[in-house]
Subunit: 364 residues, 2 copies
């Protein structure tokens, strides 16, 4: 009998996180165990690439009289759009789903965010379960942030809507391209930086390449990284305070992604760049070293490109940072590290950011 590896106990709800190899064969059983009240029906909202690989195995775990409906969405950030959102709501209605229906989000962060927002707003909210298929989604699948993009910025429309369970089949990561490993791994390192420096050490010792990670190491990596996330979410579900620390590296990352057009750079690749920028900014503000150089070196071994892409315009990056959800009263707020494992949210002068972008980023 599979037991949850972690439990999230937040202000409004609690839910289990299952992490193990081959959980997809037990999907139906694990979901039912997690629900307080029976589901009237299920619909799987699946990334179409992931559906091609794993959907059949998941559907087979359901009994014949209770097979889920299925709706697929194209892989990629472009699916976090008003169009897909509206289309999926229509699918739910056409299948006659009521308020007791349960949505299953199968895919990476894009699918989870999109399906989660559908769940948050369909009939003013139905339950959903996250089944992350990427390393990056180990982060986004926990904590209940859902949403879609607006042409003016990422994740600007959405809701806080916690899942009823997270079912993380690490076996599905076998088919993940290296680029996607790199994307997700940036959030792993981020969790170490903001809450658990010993975890960074563990990671550096255990992982030298994405091709050779053993099952046990992978499951432990997921557990420790998700634990950081879960503990923050438990204390601050709706990002009134410390949850903002999870945005370490994201202020610049979101701006770069928007500036390049979504999908040109993976989210994690942008976060890696943003994180090192925030580390450098932290060193400047607090005037002491934070292992910037050694982190760059380690990340380079893993194949990260750490420069801000040259086609980014400095003034436009700054304008976009002002639309960041952490910005308030027209001021840009950055998550900085006072020490490793000790983040703070601080207002930073536009000019200081601009100067550093020019100096470190070589941006005009």
């Amino acid at each position: 009998m599979t037991s949850p590896r972690l439990l999230v106990n937040s202000e409004t709800t609690k839910y289990p996180i299952y992490i193990d190899t081959d959980l997809r064969y037990q999907t139906y059983e694990l979901i039912n165990k997690s629900l307080d009240k029976k589901a009237s029906a299920f619909i799987i909202i699946a990334d179409d690439t992931v559906a091609g690989l794993y959907l059949d195995e998941i559907v087979q775990s359901f009994p014949a009289e209770n097979k889920p409906y299925v709706a697929t969405v194209p892989s990629g950030e472009a699916s976090k759009s008003f169009e897909q959102y509206e289309r999926l709501l229509t699918e739910c209605l056409k299948n006659g789903l009521d308020r007791q229906a349960v949505i299953i989000a199968l895919g990476g962060g894009v699918t989870g965010d999109l399906a989660g927002f559908v769940a948050a707003s369909y009939m003013r909210g139905v339950r959903y379960v996250q089944m992350p298929s990427t390393l990056l989604a180990h982060d986004s699948s926990v904590g209940g942030k859902t949403g879609i993009n607006h042409p003016l910025g990422k994740n600007l429309i959405g809701a806080f809507h916690p899942p009823s369970a997270v079912i993380y089949d690490s076996g599905m990561l076998n088919t993940l391209p290296e680029k996607e490993w790199r994307s997700g791994f940036a959030e792993v390192i981020k969790h170490g930086f903001i809450a658990d420096p010993s975890f960074i050490k563990w990671v550096e010792e255990n992982i030298q390449s994405f091709k050779s990670i053993k099952t046990d190491v992978l499951n432990e990596l997921l557990r420790r990284s998700i634990k950081v996330k879960a503990e923050i979410v438990e204390k601050d579900e709706k990002e009134q305070g410390i949850r903002a620390f999870l945005n370490f590296g994201h202020t610049l990352a979101h701006s770069i992604e928007a500036e390049l057009g979504y999908g040109r750079m993976t989210h994690g690749e942008a976060v890696a760049v943003g994180m090192l920028f925030a580390l450098k900014l932290s060193e400047k503000v607090y005037k002491h070293s934070l292992e910037y150089e050694s982190t760059c070196k380690y990340m380079n071994t893993l194949g990260y490109r750490l420069e801000i892409p040259a086609e980014c315009n400095r003034d436009r990056l700054l304008e976009r940072m002002k639309l960041d959800k952490k910005a308030s009263y027209k001021q840009i707020n950055f998550v900085l590290l006072k020490e490793l494992g000790h983040p703070e949210l601080l207002p930073v002068k536009e000019n200081d950011i601009s100067e550093l972008l020019k100096k470190e980023g070589n941006l005009k």
Copy 2:
């Protein structure tokens, strides 16, 4: 100094309800008094007809250095659309509104629901204030239900997102057309039926026509009717139980509205028809009289048309009832009255509904 007439103390939040003549001249002051944390900016989302009448007076209550942004929406149910929703989110972004901004919904239920859903989902949720301008909105402005329509049904997309305050300037009702009085008054009577039969008596004694209601009677009417709503919402914010009682009359009403096309009949006119149908159904189920005849008579004096419109198709009405948010596990659930003031939510057989639609509604 104006004090709130009522306070809503729900599971997740509490907020004041101000009811009085000419509150619009104190808008800025009343909003600031209600906010726990200062607003970074304001945007008024206003019904365009109401804006033409009262917007200037409201804007004048704001100091020069803190004038609100304004976005108007066309009057009418058709504005509760994906298109308007998306457009308003874009307006908020273009004005650079951050998470500390406050949205003011100025108008009837359409504006309140739409602006409320914008507030619920803009940056995953910002605060908003309801300024109802219709009698009908005395109901919808309290309780935090927000949403938009889908071509397949009313209010199918939305969120529970309580306002930070309700500012009800009953003076704005002076310009309300009689048809709109009739629409809102149906919800007043509904509140009496489900929770306070003595209020129905009071209403019948004090109101014989919508043209001659005195200020004091009107404010008392609003207070007592909103009180019923507020007390239910306090006990069941997210419609897990007794809040469904507020849907008395709405199962059929929503279906009629969808069947005719939104806007052909006002919401309250449809609720009046639905309420009398539910009353008749209650008399059948519980086998005793519930003042069906006297209620019909009183409502006729006020100019209500109480027949189900002949162009409604019986089978299609039933199909639409199955999409009702109270439906579960494919069964239609009706709010019925065991006695006056004592509602219950009961599954009703499709066939029984169909028979009564045929008999009472003369529908084919």
